[in-house]
């Protein structure tokens, strides 16, 4: 486990963005590739006088296509890694946001269940409404005032689950440290 759980704390679930987000990225990549193939083909024809192709040009075209597919494949896995590493861990006491901003830039933020004051759901656009995913914004009394959980499946159900955990957390006794100024 990447996070240190407190005594009595256990993981309830890990949430990732909806798969539609990944499919959308894959489609974007596919169309970018198709566009790139067209551009490369056009350039190759335009500069055909400049290119001295020693062998069969058919193999050269296939080579370029294979290189493009290879790069697109690696790019898709870069998207997948970003998708997989951008997730939320819900424990009985906290919600932890693991955010991979870049491959070498991670951001981990936490909101405690007992700090949650309000949860707002947003489903924006046709796909989010039809497929059933959306974003949650949690108003918190902690250091992070607004905590976002974006593009997750079934935000309504998740909201209910978080509220239940919030209620349980509120019933638990808290350790309060009062510092003595003297």
């Amino acid at each position: 486990m990447i996070i240190d759980l407190q005594a009595g704390e256990y993981v309830i679930k890990e949430i990732r963005k909806h798969w539609f987000y990944l499919v959308l990225k894959a489609f974007g990549l596919f169309f970018a590739c198709v566009l790139l193939v067209g551009i490369v083909y056009g350039i190759m024809n335009y500069v055909s006088d400049l290119l001295v192709v020693q062998g069969d040009s058919g193999y050269l075209y296939l080579f370029l296509l294979a290189v493009l597919i290879f790069l697109a494949w690696l790019s898709f896995f870069a998207f997948f890694t970003k998708y997989y590493l951008d997730y939320w861990i819900i424990t009985n006491r906290r919600i932890i946001d693991m955010d991979l901003i870049g491959f070498f830039h991670e951001n981990i933020s936490t909101v405690h269940m007992h700090d949650i004051e309000d949860i707002e759901i947003e489903k924006k656009g046709l796909f989010q409404t039809l497929i059933g995913f959306g974003s949650l914004s949690l108003q918190s009394a902690g250091a992070i005032r607004t905590f976002f959980i974006r593009d997750v499946p079934n935000p309504d159900k998740l909201k209910d689950e978080i509220f239940k955990l919030h209620e349980v957390a509120m019933e638990e006794p808290h350790k309060v440290i009062i510092s003595n100024p003297t």
Binding site: V67, F70, F77
Partner: protein, 77 residues
């Protein structure tokens, strides 16, 4: 094609050039795989074995295909 001022920009696509591109792709693949593996091991907890297998099998197949195409191109000279 000879450009103005006698500038000749003709570019020869030799098999050596394609092998250099292949070598660059292999290095790029190695670096990216190391980064992916680091993150998948750190966050994956062994859950994405299927994804890893697909990634490595397809990527190595694509590299093999590229190498075969370079060989075919070399032999067609």
């Amino acid at each position: 094609m000879i450009f103005p001022f006698g500038l000749d920009l003709a570019f020869t696509v030799s098999p050596l050039l394609l092998w250099i591109v292949f070598a660059v792709l292999c290095i790029f693949y190695g670096v990216m795989s190391m980064i992916f593996m680091y993150h998948w091991n750190k966050h994956g907890h062994g859950k994405i074995l299927f994804v890893r297998s697909v990634y490595f099998v397809v990527t190595i197949s694509l590299l093999a295909l590229i190498a075969i195409l370079i060989l075919l191109y070399s032999q067609s000279i």
